[in-house]
Assembly symmetry: C2
Homo-oligomer: 123 residues x 2
Amino acid sequence: MAQPPVPVSLADKLSRFSELWSPKIVAGVNDYEVKLVKVKREFVWHTHEETDELFLVVTGRLTIQLRDGDVVLGPGELFVVPRGVEHCPVAEEETSVLLLEPAGTVNTGDAGGPMTKEPVRLD
Amino acid sequence: MAQPPVPVSLADKLSRFSELWSPKIVAGVNDYEVKLVKVKREFVWHTHEETDELFLVVTGRLTIQLRDGDVVLGPGELFVVPRGVEHCPVAEEETSVLLLEPAGTVNTGDAGGPMTKEPVRLD
């Protein structure tokens, strides 16, 4: 194996950054990436035309606003936003989310703008 | 959207089956599947030559035996077994695990045998 067999603790990884809306890569599965992100307040409405996007709440409470209704996620709840579906995450309290999507997926999708962040690997 | 925007609660899904070593599909992300599986005792040594496989422990404690050492995972800890790496999960107590892998990945990989299960979708 290229890397020693060390588990990834989500809590440990989350303890190592505080920046909001800035996804950190914590694992890879083939050409997909598992990212952790801390969020608070509202993101930007955007669409990923090329991919579905999985959100799994680790701590806190996330609302994924969709044009046909909101999805509210607590810890241990997940939702997959299908490709092409416009969405806008928002959280009243600071919330930690695990994301799964293909490597290279841009956090702001088609919207771009100042919230766009290049994810960094959190070793 | 093809489906109404309903979140997936891991705890709710886990409450709806008891069978061991029989993965249930709870979500899809493009051509990948998120599965939940309950495990206890030892599985079979096997390899997925064509894909990495992600294990995230939800409840309990999972040991992933590898030929160069064991990885022990508690709740909120994950590990990705790289493609081509032989492994054998084992759990002393009943343990719930979230799996992520491409659709069509066979649970017993190259080993086959009586532990092979076709995953079913848990709606």
